[in-house]
């Protein structure tokens, strides 16, 4: 390759990856917003606004106390600017004029916002095979198919509603997988979380619909701290999807979420994410700081938790969806595509903690870095002394676009018994000139060529996504990378 052709290729690829963000609009709506800053009074105020039971307030106060003592983690391969936590608004919600009886009564402005994002909430237009919980800044504005799901005993609602209606379930499970003081950001989230989704699948029920939450950050000054809790009782199954977008602002918004999954005996939870928070502009200005703790507990025998994520947004991503495999023969999976461009930084991966006998885990991670971005895979496979007969397979592939991007892999493996089998494979490749020329010579444009190479690279992960989501993810990467498509 010559310097000249290198430049041509680089320019072409850079042009492709610099497509405008489609979801960058903001909604002008009257807000109920509390003053900036974080102290005990704010924590109490949030709890009061949500009219929470006493255990919840205690949970929050305990978390806040811990948070003050904790330090932000520094081990990730990320350059995180100093965040002024006193300069963030911790509660911002659209003002509702009256109590809503149905989703059709939601402010048309809000419905239109979600409409624009491709999520219809009204009775006539909503998706027929997916139940949606729509979260706007700090609150859920509604959940579709609640009644229909209730007939199966499935609970799917916002976590605020769950605190009112099912406090005993929340008290039992909240914070059991991700303890309050697990890390700096979980403590923060536990103190100030405002909404999120709660799913409960009772014994012997296969959830008839995919459940989905769509998170939208709208307020320029507000952080979003959501909390998701999914409990699958014995012999149950649920597939849950999560999507996220945010407007295009010049300054950064903070997003610190906690997701907890619990699978009892023979239960299976499939959790899929398409994360497309605003990533900042070409110079790296603006964008979401995304600090997320996601963890699943396979507590029962033969239970299974599977994480699939497509991470394309955020200026900074710090996220390691994990599985704790306690039940014998339980299974954990992690499939990930992380795309970074411009000055985005992602440090993401998974932890698989094998505790029960014959537990299995599988990690497939695909990182794509373009522009000046940094993309790191960080993984921990920990196999305990008692986890005899366990297996892990990890595969980490990186694809580089252009000459200024950066890809790292940090796999940690710890095995404490001799009957275990652990495999790790890794590769790094680059979209090269000769590869592109081959496509061009056959009359295929560079946009299509890159699209095909990328979607081929991600195939192992995309096949794990629910059907509509797979199409969505493919389209999303196309938008981010290939431009002319869609």
């Amino acid at each position: 390759m010559t310097e000249k052709s290198n430049k041509v290729l680089d320019n072409n690829l850079t042009k492709l990856v610099n497509q405008p963000y489609k979801y960058g609009f903001s909604t002008n709506i009257e807000k109920d917003r509390i003053e900036k800053g974080l102290n005990e009074d704010i924590v109490r105020l949030i709890s009061k606004k949500k009219n929470e039971p006493a255990f919840m307030l205690n949970f929050r106060l305990k978390a806040f106390k811990q948070w003050k003592k904790l330090q932000a983690p520094t081990w990730a391969q990320l350059k995180i600017p100093k965040i002024n936590f006193q300069d963030v608004t911790y509660y911002s919600a659209p003002k509702f004029k009256k109590k809503l009886n149905s989703l059709d009564e939601v402010d048309p402005e809000l419905l239109e916002t979600f409409e624009k994002l491709g999520i219809s909430l009204t009775e006539q237009k909503r998706l027929t095979n997916v139940a949606v919980d729509a979260v706007f800044d700090s609150v859920s504005i509604g959940t579709t198919f609640r009644k229909e799901l209730a007939e199966y005993g499935v609970i799917f609602c916002s976590i605020s509603e769950a605190l009112q209606e099912y406090p005993e379930l929340l008290e039992k499970y909240l914070g059991t997988v991700v303890p309050i003081g697990d890390n700096y950001f979980t403590a923060l989230n536990s103190a100030v979380f405002t909404d999120g989704s709660f799913c409960f699948i009772p014994k012997n029920v296969r959830c008839p619909l995919d459940l989905s939450t769509y998170f939208r950050i709208n307020d320029q000054q507000a952080g979003q701290f959501e909390r998701t809790l999914i409990v699958a009782e014995e012999n149950s199954y649920v597939s849950y999807l999560e999507g996220c977008t945010a407007p295009q602002y010049d300054d950064n918004q903070l997003h610190a979420a906690v997701v907890e999954l619990i699978a009892l005996k023979n239960a299976e939870i499939k959790y899929s994410t398409v994360q497309n928070w605003y990533a900042g502009n070409e110079e790296g200005k603006g964008g979401i700081y995304n600090f997320v703790t996601k963890r699943g507990l396979c507590s029962g025998k033969n239970s299974k938790i599977s994480w699939t994520q497509v991470e394309t947004g955020s200026s900074i991503t710090w996220k390691y969806p994990s599985c704790i495999l306690v039940g014998d023969n339980s299974k954990g999976e992690f499939y990930s595509v992380a795309l970074t461009n411009n000055y985005q930084q992602a440090d993401t991966g998974s932890k698989m903690n094998h505790i029960g006998k014959n537990t299995k885990s599988r990690i497939v991670s695909k990182g794509i870095s373009a522009g000046n971005s940094k993309n790191s895979y960080r993984g921990l496979v920990n196999i305990n002394q008692k986890a005899t007969g366990s297996r892990n397979y990890s595969q980490c592939d990186s694809l580089l676009i252009g000459n200024s991007s950066n890809a790292n892999t940090f796999p940690f493996i710890s095995v404490q018994n001799s009957t275990t089998k652990v495999e790790h494979e890794a590769s790094t490749s680059k979209i090269g000139e000769e590869q592109i020329f081959y496509f061009l010579q056959r009359g295929i444009s560079i946009e299509k060529a890159v699209e095909l190479i990328i979607s081929g690279f991600c195939k192992d992960v995309f096949t794990e996504l629910p059907l509509e989501f797979a199409a969505e993810a493919d389209r999303l990467l196309s938008l981010k990378l290939e431009g002319s498509v869609g």
């Binding site: 041509v8 020329f437 081959y438 010579q441 299509k448 095909l452």
Partner: protein
């Protein structure tokens, strides 16, 4: 009488890579229905020449012109040249992990159809279309489902190249050492495929080291290339002479 126009005209072509001159005053005219063979030592500029005609961005054309069907193509992108009817069978076809051959072939075909405002084929229609083409190179349909060239043997890769020539039905095919790495059976199959594709409207440039290929595909002209220029042109007799004498005698002649 109708005057037949050349399909490819190369006029005083000078090209370089990283400021190193690699083609010197190259001249070549090819008419429809003709097969030309270009022979020469390793590093004489044969593969470079093919890539320059196809529009590889690494090379700079310093002087001269390349005309295809009467029009200069120097300012055209590689994909535009492809749409016009220039095909290059690569010496070392590249592997494309994760991309199925079938998808790749369909996209190539449909890109060409689109450029000519013709209807594109959906996957099922395409499967019918490509199946017939597979027979030309006696290729097993299982190769459609595999990733492009990934894990293909040398011979399978070359067959896949000729399959693409058949698929795109290009007017000018430059076959860069399509015979290298083939056993005798594969050579026969591929040669017979190429002969089937050839007709009076098409032209082929064969780049090869060996007389062997020319036993199966009969060229009208043979050119010998050395240091980026054509130093001798002859008929198929020349190839036999080269086989016996090598290239050395030509070099001497040039000095005299």
């Amino acid at each position: 009488m109708v005057q037949i126009k050349p399909i490819l005209e190369i006029e005083n072509l000078n090209a370089s890579i990283n400021d190193i001159k690699i083609l010197n005053n190259l001249n070549l005219k090819i008419y429809p229905g003709e097969i030309h063979a270009i022979m020469g030592r390793n590093g004489s500029g044969k593969s470079t020449f093919s890539k320059i005609v196809a529009g590889h961005p690494a090379y700079n054309v310093v002087d001269g012109d390349i005309r295809f069907k009467g029009k200069s193509i120097l300012n055209l992108e590689p994909e535009e040249r492809s749409h016009l009817g220039i095909f290059l069978a690569f010496q070392y076809p590249i592997e494309i992990p994760g991309v199925s051959n079938e998808d790749f072939l369909r996209l190539a075909y449909n890109s060409k159809m689109k450029s000519q405002n013709k209807p594109e084929l959906d996957p099922i229609e395409f499967l019918g279309y490509i199946s017939k083409k597979l027979e030309i190179v006696q290729m097993d349909p299982v190769f459609l489902t595999r990733n492009v060239n990934e894990g293909f043997s040398g011979g399978e890769k070359k067959r896949n190249e000729i399959l693409q020539f058949a698929l795109l039905d290009s007017d000018l095919a430059i076959l860069d050492e399509t015979d290298s790495g083939l056993d005798i059976d594969a050579l026969k199959i591929i040669s017979s495929g190429i002969n089937k594709l050839m007709n009076e409207n098409k032209s082929i440039i064969l780049i090869t080291h060996y007389q062997r290929l020319l036993d199966y595909i009969k060229p009208d002209y043979i050119h010998v290339m050395q240091k980026g220029e054509i130093i001798k042109t002859g008929t198929s007799e020349l190839a036999k002479e080269l086989e016996i004498k090598g290239y050395e005698w030509l070099k001497k002649k040039k000095v005299n």
